[in-house]
Amino acid sequence: DVVFAQKVHLNRICSILLVSQRFQSTLVVAEHNNDKLTPIMLSAITAAKKLGGDVSCLVAGTDCATVAQEVSKVLGVKTVLIAQNDAYKGSLTEELTPLILATQKQFNFTHICAGASAFGKVRVSAKLDVAPISDIIEIKSPDTFVRTIYARNALSTVKCNDNVKVFTVRGTSFEPTEVDGGSLFISVAASASAVMSEWLEATLTKSDCPELTSAKVVVSGGRGLKNGENFKLLYDLADKINAAGKWLLWMLDMMQVGQTGKIVAPELYIAVGISGAIQHLSGMKTIVAINKDPEAPIFQVVD
């Protein structure tokens, strides 16, 4: 019996050794404009760190130096991989995908992630023949993730058995990582251009207000306001509140913020003339509603 027990013990040690042969390592694909990282990146890096292994960040672009410097200062990023080439103008996914694949081939990461945004790196997942997990809000373990479904009305816990896990991170669900570290730089060979897509231009909504998805206070108006003049009242209200990071929305269609539109998780959300379907509201800390209709669904969830 003693012999048998010893044999079992040995087998266990063998399998533990085999598993740790492949260390956990995560590649975070950076989203940037050659000048700085987009805010969601710091949350994506937090998520990557939660997995427990080494975190590397891939910065691809036409002029990477500034962003690479910024990334190297982010706490917990061990390596910054740089790929500089004109092909990466506009961060076209058709160009970035072969680069990510080549990087994966070279370094064999266990996880690949990016922020969940229009930039998201899901294309590479099909090339790796693994099912990606989009827009995660929580990491339970290196192979188990939580995400929302049905317009944030339900939570889905998903266990991924693939040998490389590809996922995108919801920015509002992970605190941004602090800056002030130092990492190692490695230059990655940029791949030849796929030449099937051409980036022409971007028109960014110019405004003094910071990004909607990171705003602390959001005031929005819905159909109940009926016309533009009434919206002026909203502007006045927002001015009075004068909170840092206020943002104003014109919502003609609930779906833009609610069901599948931008995800906002402000500290304070003031909804004026909005009936308030539940899809709209999850993730907000304090909700104030102004509405003529006392039966409006929004009143069931306000503070």
Binding site: T38, I40, L92, T93, E94, T97, S117, A118, F119, G120, V122, R123, V124, A126, K127, V130, A131, P132, I133, S134, D135, T144, R147, T148, I149, Y150, A151, N153, A154, L155, S156, T157, V158, K159, C160, N161, D162, M196, S197, E198, W199, L200, E201, A202, T203, L204, T205, E211, D253, M255, Q259, T260, G261, K262, I278, S282, K285, T286, V301, D303
Partner: protein, 242 residues
Amino acid sequence: MSRVLVGVKRVIDYAVKIRVKPDHSGVVTDGVKHSMNPFCEIAVEEAVKLKEKKFIKEVVAVSCGPTQVTETIRTALAMGCDRGIHVEVSGKDYEAMGPLQISKIFAALAKKEEASLVILGKQAIDDDCNQTGQMTAALLDWPQGTFASEVTIDGEKVKVVREIDGGLETIKISMPAVLTADLRLNTPRYATLPNIMKAKKKKIANMKPADLGVDEPPTRLAGVKVETVDDLVAKLKANGTI
């Protein structure tokens, strides 16, 4: 020759309040109203518009799933698609099916039908994955125009205005390509009664994933559990977070 493939998904109607099964293995779907995914409606509308503007000759509506999805294909036909393809997947296989398998099916069909464009909705309102379009493009090695809010065909290329965080981005991609429809791309038409009647005569071909060389059973992300956000909100209120 110019042909467009449009993917349509049958989902729980967006206005329905969903309920989680008591054993948390999924969402209650029996007896619940289903309809075409709103973003798929926008995709169909865009394809039909392209045909009306004479950029393309034929629009084929495709859906994967059990028999019930043929209703969704009929709706697409009533909106103006020329014919349909029903890729039959049912039971446990259907429950396990995810965007990766669907992309493989669409990629195979796009090649088989020699499509110039594949137009899909940007995401389905049930799983909210936002993956199928991108992965279909990857498998075909075609360029992609995702979150499209404006599509203009310009010879052999397509100019796509995309909705991105912070504004709009314009790209020009060569065909064949995959596009995914965002909310502002268009306003889908209602199927008129005469068109609904005409749609009954249009053909829907039937096939299995295996006919397209796509393996069954699909690899699934194991262990899906579901809880409601209501529970989460209640818990947060209870411990004073909100």
